[in-house]
Symmetry: none
Subunit: 231 residues, 2 copies
């Protein structure tokens, strides 16, 4: 189906993969629907190779992995997506050409197609509904591939450490300021509740993961409301 | 788009998830195309909830995570899919209700939609083509979820808190109240800064792990300062 080929091309390029080989596409080739659905992944389609048979499609590869959930029928090693992609990365580093075979949307891979593979990769799924859409299966494997490629998570780590939690003296100065305003407004009443009300406020603001800009926003809020009052 | 909703329902159920909430679906509801594409995941559609607004859709949840690749604009913590799903599993184990927000196919999530979230989950993608199809983004997160729930390991890396995080409707009602008071005090000035000031406040309070007592304390603080002003 054109939609599935387009969706596959799109998600491959989302995760930095661009070598697609099609075996006897059902609706012929090229396919307009595939181009539409591929969105910005059109270049993957532009340079994809079309073959008549699976044998022809994989003839230049050193190893191929078949994707299926029918893992027990074949005496082949079975990998989950993460293990499989890690193994493939190592093989490629050693100069091997490696392919992954996905079956058609309707039937998945047939036994004779799986027979051609060196090993199996299986996506863990709900036993009550295991039929993955083709492009979703590709999405999972491509995602695992991108994750283990070295720089995939650099960006995220940087963003996490970019979140600059402010220091306690800023939090304290906000709390002191707040207490002064609250005192003037009669918040600490009756007097014997002052201590627990104070504790409450300290606990609240110290527990929060506040950044410098957060503190300035909070200062601004209190200042705005109390200044207007005094004016 | 019906196709994306159907694809999402299908892949959710592939990975054992079945609680879908739709916000103002573009083509109305129910949608025949969604049913066709959902395949064996139709039951997810049968019991999905349809809401007019995002606020309405998340009001009973304790925490929500927004999915976006625009991670730098917001001072929120950013998790990759694995870390995010692990955190969510831990939160659910502690009795929290947690939601994940996905944007529309065309535009993704808008800033004001991200503002409502406690934190961000981002899928690492090819910087040359980062636009994921909606159901592919769901596929990746659902897959990580299923992997984690299958291998129930107990190395809890991160604990937001053991406290009772309040639900979003309480946070929203505090924010609404605060905005009214700030408006009266002239905080939103000049007028062209109103939107960014609003967004600022939403980001700040939605990001915080606020409990019910926290909300009451915050209400009390604002009430005390503004009431005194009026008296």
């Amino acid at each position: 189906m054109g939609e599935n080929i387009g969706g596959t091309a799109r998600v491959m390029w989302n995760f930095g993969l661009d070598r697609l080989r099609l075996v006897a596409p059902r609706d012929g080739w090229p396919n307009r629907k595939a181009v539409t659905v591929s969105s910005g992944g059109g270049q993957v389609l532009d340079k994809c190779l079309v073959h008549h048979t699976l044998e022809e499609a994989i003839q230049d590869l050193n190893l191929v992995f078949a994707t299926t959930i029918r893992t027990r029928k074949f005496s082949k090693e079975v990998f989950n997506p993460y293990e499989g992609m890690k193994l493939i990365r190592d093989l490629i580093r050693k100069g091997k050409s490696v392919g992954i075979i996905f079956g058609s949307e309707r039937a998945g891979l047939e036994s004779k197609e799986i027979a051609i593979a060196n090993a199996i990769i299986t996506v863990p799924v709900n036993s009550k509904f295991s039929s993955l859409n083709l492009s979703h299966a590709v999405a999972v494997l491509a995602y695992e591939w991108f994750k283990i490629s070295e720089h995939a998570n650099d960006d995220i780590k940087r963003v996490i450490s970019d979140l600059n939690i402010t220091n306690k003296s800023e939090v304290n100065s906000f709390i002191q300021n707040l207490k002064i305003e609250l005192s003037r407004s009669g918040y600490f009443w009756p007097e014997d509740k002052r201590e627990s009300l104070n504790r409450n406020i300290e606990n609240l603001f110290h527990r929060m993961p506040l950044t410098g800009p957060d503190i300035r926003t909070l200062f601004g809020i209190i200042k705005s409301i109390s200044k207007h009052r005094d004016g």
